[in-house]
């Protein structure tokens, strides 16, 4: 398919911008004036719409079909939320508008904070972080500020992370200026408690843990882990990536965690948008509230109105602009109000769906940890690879031919040929069954005709793409007259 730049013809345009007679001539000092125009596409409006509509048909979303991408919680995104976010009182609201002109927005943010406090079992919330990984970084900044305040920051340098963690955890540790300590996973898929005991001491600042873990397993020793960390004077950080498993059932605060980030784009249905936007609010125990980012959204005691409080002397500062991604808050708040206390049913359905698919697939694929799972589970294509040469990637690509988005592959890193499957709660049993049938068929195909897998996908707009070539000599923008043409590229 052509790039929009390849459809461009000089003299065409989709826009018309108001011009006014009798105003001062537009004037820019010559030394600062643009010399060469930006080569933006020149297309009429209908070509623009056709181009992006065609592009959309070459993409697959939750609206298109089943998307069991592990750890991403690809649930249905309610359409009413898309309507609500366009209300002019939300979409056209300027963030510097005075407090009396944003009472509805502040009340929504305050109410969302209250719901998140209840769902996490913690005391205070900041909505500011833009996504989960920024929530992590913000949480680690709070850890640093807390220990600085206590005069312990010089020695509390280490953050403990299990080997199943998302890559964002160690990356956030480095960006926050801490050092990493890795702990292992034991034979049941829990943190190895003996390994942990040996590694936690007075130099430990915090633990970062996803629970249930990226293996989809709830750590059975969470109470002992809590005793080890708090016993050593360290803090506990909860990566909320898998909160969809436990809403209304077990709260991070009840598990002993001091800081939590919530992925609004996972658990609370902000659409993923092809990679964003997200929302990564953090909830904390009261001892950490003074350090939260500014401004805080508060309810004023005197008149019940809502306000922004910038006067927080111990704050870490700001981690992004304004109070956070407000449009995301509108959608997630709406989503949570559609459930209320029934959020528990959401998590129960997610866990039931995952266990059902697991039960149907575990004889055809390897199951590294044979336990009931939570909202997701990890299989391995190790045997398929050994016996038939078909890898997890081959399975993933073949699934596309059956009309399903593949699961997450090759993660977590401790499981070879990993296939990480998260059905979510928003699927019918018929869809789950169809997916299981496809997975079982692919396991049979791997034995009978492994080339069918290796050459997959067969029915997508493109065949398997050469990622090595892309990285070797990167072409990361259109080159206009010098751009390699598809035909030339093909040879």
């Amino acid at each position: 398919m052509k790039l929009i730049y390849e459809k461009s013809q000089p003299g065409r345009r989709a826009s018309s911008i108001p011009r006014h007679d009798g105003l001062p001539e537009p004037d820019v000092p010559e030394a600062l004036r643009r010399t060469e125009p930006a080569r933006l596409p020149e297309v009429p409006e209908f070509e623009l719409i056709r181009h992006f509509t065609e592009l959309s048909t070459r993409n697959f979303g939750v609206d298109t079909g089943f998307y069991p991408l592990g750890s991403c919680t690809m649930k249905y995104n309610p359409r009413v939320n898309e309507r609500l976010v366009t209300l002019p009182g939300f979409a056209s609201l300027h963030p510097h508008q005075d407090e009396d002109g944003v009472q509805g927005a502040l009340e929504l943010e305050w109410r969302l904070q209250e719901i998140l406090r209840e769902v996490t079992g913690l005391d205070a919330v900041s909505l500011q972080p833009a996504a989960g990984s920024q929530g992590e970084l913000t949480g680690l900044m709070l850890v640093r500020a807390y220990f600085e305040d206590r005069g312990e920051s010089a020695r509390r340098r280490k953050v403990v992370i299990p080997d199943t963690a998302h890559g964002t955890n160690p990356a956030s540790v480095t960006m926050a200026g801490f050092e990493l300590t890795h702990v292992q996973t034991d034979a049941r898929g829990n943190i190895d408690i003996e390994d942990l005991r040996a590694k936690v001491d007075e130099t430990t600042a915090a633990l970062m843990l996803t629970n249930p873990s990226t293996l989809g397993l709830f750590d059975e020793n969470i109470e002992e882990i809590e005793r080890i960390f708090h016993g050593a004077g360290a803090l506990m950080y909860y990566d909320g990536a898998n909160l969809n498993a436990v809403c209304g059932i077990s709260r991070p605060g009840d598990m002993g965690f001091d800081i939590v980030h919530i992925n609004l784009h996972k658990t609370f249905s902000q659409p993923h948008g092809g990679g964003g936007p997200g929302g990564g609010p953090i909830a904390v125990r009261g001892i950490l509230e003074p350090f939260l980012p500014v401004p805080a959204v508060v309810r004023r005691g005197d008149d019940g109105g809502f306000g922004l409080d910038f006067d927080r002397p111990k704050t870490i500062g700001k981690v992004r602009g304004f109070t956070g991604p407000f449009g995301v808050f509108v959608r997630s708040y709406a989503y949570m109000r559609m459930y209320g206390p029934r959020l528990r049913e959401m998590s129960e359905a997610a866990v039931l769906n995952a266990n059902y698919v697991l039960a149907r697939l575990k004889d055809a694929y390897d199951l590294p940890f044979d336990r009931l799972c939570m909202h997701e589970f990890v299989l391995s294509a190790r045997e398929l690879k050994r016996e038939h040469g078909a890898t997890a990637l081959d399975v993933a690509k073949r699934l596309m031919d059956y009309g399903f988005h593949p699961p997450t592959v090759y993660f977590p890193l401790i499981v070879p040929e990993a296939l990480m499957i998260e059905p979510t709660e928003t699927e019918t049993k018929e869809t789950l069954d169809a997916f299981c049938e496809a997975m079982l068929a692919i396991a049979r195909e791997a034995a009978e005709d492994p080339e069918l897998l290796k050459e997959a996908p067969h029915h997508r707009p493109v065949r398997r793409l050469d990622e090595v070539r892309a990285a070797k000599s990167p072409v990361v923008k259109y080159g206009f007259a010098e751009h390699p043409q598809p035909d030339a590229v093909a040879r």
Partner: protein
């Protein structure tokens, strides 16, 4: 009891439990120790129907005074530019809206090609060689650039001009300690930055960040500021308004190492501060230090052109603690909105919107001086779409009184700059008309001084 977002019938559940080999849903949670269970219902208000939900949110929205209800000259980082209908139409395509990060390229050519086109548009706007797929906002991309500079130079200070957006400076300061960076600010002199003063401050620094147009709306001597940074071998980083780049020179043309900024003005609604997108583009030499997603062109096994996420060994899911950033979720959908908007504009539209802003702002300057009797804070400084005026008394009071007359006259600068308690920052986008500017002038004539 059914729920619109759930599907399992009682019969489904019974059969699924049988297949799993447990007797109840409760049993699925047996690995969770009793001591950490909630053991009660969540204390939340009861579930709403869609109709009740819509009424509740409409009521909250109605208690906000948005730019459709009040004539607004607010800017200061977020701007009331026109967002064409084509943006909404494209972003509401479910295939874009409800997709994840394109890890599986054969399922995601739509998102991948559009990001490639976005990267091209950002490089064209800024005159740079490489753009990432977006950052969170105009604040965090500045912090990202500091991380690049820290590692590219192994130096430990960054210089930021005082005329740079205060929120950008705050976010950089919040991130800096973790990066092992100190932040030094260089004051403005009569509304712009002195290149000589900047050159001295840049000595030994990892990077210099300045904003063009700056927070006061003034046009910095940007080529001289970039040269000052480059002479000190600090990375020169320009924080730019994308909608100014039809009329103002591209940072790549005056020697900047990195150009970045807030994308909101180009294709996103103000939305009370987000979600928007930050853009970040750099010279080729920094490609392997870029944070976040980058899309590259390649071929499939049949030789057909296609697009993939590339240079992923920079990223957290591969490189973990040695990654160039922890970012994973970014702002792809909003960046797609930016691409659609820039495609809608085209090169001539980009220039037109810049020129209309320039003319209307120049007219507003005239009217506020002549009709309202106000003085410009920095007379003689060239500006783009925003400018600062003295209003003779506390600007917050002027805002309050003007709003009683249905006009929000601008941003009170005293919050960020000592000694500017009587200064308003007035933003004029192409959405304003000469009549509306006359009305602003009339209202300020009444309530200012």
């Amino acid at each position: 009891m059914t729920h619109p977002y759930l599907a399992l019938t009682e019969a489904d559940k019974a059969e699924m439990l049988r297949t799993i080999g447990v007797s109840s849903v409760e049993e699925l949670f047996r690995d969770i120790p009793g001591g950490v269970r909630l053991g009660r219902e969540l204390a939340l208000e009861p579930a709403l129907s869609e109709q009740e939900l819509s009424a509740h949110l409409a009521e909250l929205a109605a208690r906000n005074v948005d730019t459709t209800r009040e004539l607004s000259f607010l800017g200061a980082g977020v701007y009331d530019h026109y967002v064409p209908a084509v943006v909404d139409a494209v972003l509401q395509r479910g295939e874009f809206l409800t997709a994840y990060t394109p890890y599986q390229p054969e399922m995601s050519q739509g998102v991948l090609q559009s990001i490639f086109e976005y990267q091209t548009a950002i490089c064209e706007l800024t005159g740079m060689d490489v753009s990432n797929a977006s950052g969170y906002d105009g604040e965090t991309v500045a912090a990202d650039a500091c991380y690049i500079a820290r590692h590219a130079t192994d130096r430990t200070t960054v210089v930021v001009t005082e005329a740079t957006n205060p929120q950008v400076r705050q976010v950089v300061k919040t991130y800096a300690p973790g990066f092992g960076l100190d932040v030094v600010e260089v004051p403005h002199r009569n509304g712009t930055t002195d290149p000589d003063e900047l050159r001295q401050a840049a000595e030994g620094a990892a990077a210099v960040i300045f904003q063009q147009p700056n927070f006061f709306g003034c046009l910095e001597p940007a080529p001289d500021l970039a040269a000052a940074a480059n002479e000190a071998e600090a990375l020169s980083i320009a924080h730019v308004d994308p909608l100014s780049l039809g009329v103002l020179e591209a940072p790549g043309r005056y020697g900047c190492a990195i150009a970045l900024g807030e994308g909101q003005a180009a294709g996103n609604f103000p939305s009370y501060g987000g979600p928007h997108y930050g853009f970040l583009a750099a010279r080729q030499e920094f490609i392997r230090r870029m944070p976040g997603r980058i899309v590259g062109e390649t071929v499939d096994t049949a030789g057909e052109r296609g697009y993939v996420l590339t240079l992923q060994t920079r990223e957290q899911h591969i490189r973990r603690e040695k990654a160039t950033s922890n970012i994973t979720t970014n702002q792809t959908l909003l960046a797609l909105g930016g691409l659609v908007y820039l495609t809608w504009l085209g090169p001539q539209g980009l220039r037109d919107v810049g020129e209309t802003c320039l003319s209307l702002a120049a007219y507003a300057k005239q009217r506020l001086q002549e009709r309202s009797g106000l003085e410009l804070l920095f007379p003689g400084q060239a500006t783009f779409k925003e400018f600062a005026v003295r209003v003779g008394r506390n600007a917050h009071d002027v805002v309050r009184d003007a709003r009683e007359r249905g006009v929000h006259p601008g941003y009170a600068l005293g919050r960020d700059y000592p000694g500017m308690d009587d200064v308003l920052l007035v933003a004029v986008t192409e959405k304003r008309t000469p009549d509306e500017i006359d009305r602003l002038a009339d209202v300020l004539a009444e309530v200012a001084r």
